[in-house]
Symmetry: C2
Subunit: 368 residues, 2 copies
């Protein structure tokens, strides 16, 4: 794996603007107001449902007139039907003319905001745009405000969603999917439950670990990944992962980790994690952590560091998740893991199937 | 200096897109062609004069029809008159209708391309836009291709120029000054003279060192600076600063260092360096290195690392540059150093004049 191949020369698209700092959410009012040409111009707020009953951290939305506030359920990860339903709700209330979309929440909410933004201007259904570069015109101007750190959704050109009809879990990979503006305010992650905070944070760490262990490499991606890993190490190897300083660092790590994704690939963890999500319904970040617990053969040093993080921060990773599964479920787990060829080639080379036989894959799932 | 103040909540603007990789310059043709609506659409190429007699590294420009190629002299750093003259030359040949500007070169050429781009669409003269947010409308779509690493000009929202009428050295600080597209191809720095390569590279290292030693801080800026410094350490503390791997790393460090500038301030080195440039005409990067040689009292650890870099890479830093200067020149050096209040407050606090007395400043210049 020391043979560094190039990732191919990709044209990476950055988020246009970002504001970083404690209390940065207070800048939302002026940013939103700069998007309104008249007082009647509508803003669509898509907000993690958590803030419905606990709105204090947001400090009052700059809401007026016909603005729409839609709370986004985070019980399940987004499906294309879910995105279509939310888009329809927005459209029925005038959303096609919205001057801005504001997404406030974790990866689910941010991805939802990106997808709805694209659909409002492009028309059609979410499933029409799953894939690469299928979005034709820019979406509604979109502002992302993460309230959870780690997935990097704030910085990427995709928005992951599952099409339940055909089982396809694939985002709208497009330059148009990238946020126009980010507000990165580490005060907003103070109320995240500790387990969730850890799982999400580990998403950044894990994809950077996978990227740096792979054979498809790019010096820019490597630099972002290295710094994100160092920040995660400070946070999860330090005294208190949720101190003010740690939350600020993890928010930076998440952003840099998201930037790294543009020029890197993941490895063995994400395909297994995808299996857990598709077959057993685990959310992405906890699924990564569950998978990581069986990754000692592939990432021995990182596995030990991960276990240290878990113990040090006294978090709970679900165990024994594959106990009692039937043959057809193991088969589905194998299929939905092995399908991720690009990351597996990145990690193990083109002959990855020689290593990841059906028996071997099952053994690994049984360890989780 | 351990008391971290916030830099204030700034809305940082990223470069829209970047391509990073060896041979990336080959992508220029398709990018330029995507900007032309018709074959008659003009592209303006502003190119470091070095490539006039040695065009091979650029591999053939995608030039056609009425395209303009202007070679930019790098003997002196840009003045407002120089920018105006280049703009006039472009305008006289139809440049106001240009569909793209391509800047290929070091900081001088990139800054020139940014400034000319703004002037072609905004009209008027360069001096009209020196300052903050005075540029009214977006410039011509601009593509930056650095052939030297370190200044970060490829990533910043300014383009430094001196107004010789009033002595003001100040850029067009504006979101409109940021490049729309970068092509970062480390093969293009293979022919840089070793001293120049070192001086420019040290610009990234020095401003990141100053930023991380200052009291105005931002976690995003800190992350970019830290990683840029680590990369510089690999490059200048490693075996060969100009190997393929080192040149790739330094190009990344330059980009990250440029990104750091948006949310950080420099310290003591840059004000002294500015003095050397304004009064004695030294170019920015060599002036930084000359100044750094007298910075042991302010950055003791970094000073030692810098001296190690100089010795290891066998580069030559001009010495004794203030020998034989007259009183009025020392006075001018003092004035043009002490005027940089913000970085000096960042480094030394609001009472920086107690430390940097006229005598003390003169002593430091005499050590250079």
């Amino acid at each position: 794996m020391s043979n560094k191949l190039d990732t191919g020369i990709k044209n990476a698209r950055n988020v246009n603007r970002y504001i970083f700092g404690r209390g940065a959410i207070q800048q939302l009012a002026s940013i939103v107001s700069s998007r309104r040409n008249s007082a009647k111009d509508q803003v669509v707020f898509l907000i993690d449902e958590f803030f419905k009953t606990f709105p204090e951290p947001l400090g009052g939305l700059p809401r007026q007139g016909d603005d729409l506030v839609i709370f986004v359920s985070t019980r399940d990860e987004p499906t294309t039907d879910f995105i279509d339903a939310l888009t329809e709700e927005a459209v029925s209330k005038g959303g096609r003319e919205a001057c801005a979309i504001v997404g406030i929440g974790g990866g689910i909410t941010l991805d939802t905001a990106k997808a709805v933004s694209n659909l409002l201007t492009n028309g059609g259904h979410a499933a029409d745009y799953q894939g690469w570069d299928r979005v034709k015109v820019p979406g509604v101007f979109k502002i992302g405000i993460p309230t959870l750190s780690g997935t990097g959704a704030e910085a990427t050109r995709t928005c992951v969603m599952t099409n339940q009809e055909n089982g396809l879990k694939l985002g709208m990979n497009s330059d148009h999917t990238v946020f126009d503006q980010l507000i990165l305010d580490p005060d907003l992650t103070a109320t995240v439950p500790r387990n969730q905070y850890f799982f999400s944070g580990m998403d950044a760490w894990i994809h950077c670990v996978e990227a740096l262990s792979g054979s498809f490499r790019n010096p820019v991606g490597d630099a972002f990944s290295t710094q994100a890993i160092n920040l995660c190490r400070d946070v999860f190897g330090g005294d208190e992962m949720m101190s003010d300083e740690s939350r600020a660092k993890l928010m930076v790590a998440s952003y840099l980790g998201g930037c790294a994704i543009a020029t890197s690939y993941v490895g063995v963890v994400h395909p297994f994690s995808a299996g857990l999500s598709v077959v057993l319904g685990f959310h992405h970040c906890v699924a990564n952590c569950i998978a990581m617990m069986a990754m000692e053969p592939y990432y021995p040093r990182e596995y030990r560091e991960f276990v240290d993080f878990v113990e040090k921060n006294e978090v709970h990773i679900p165990k024994g998740v594959c106990i009692g599964l039937v043959e057809s479920q193991f088969d589905a787990l194998y299929q939905s893991t092995i399908i991720h060829e690009k990351p597996l080639v990145n990690a193990l080379g083109v002959s990855f199937r020689d290593n990841l036989t059906e028996t071997r894959v099952r053994e690994l799932f049984e360890k989780m």
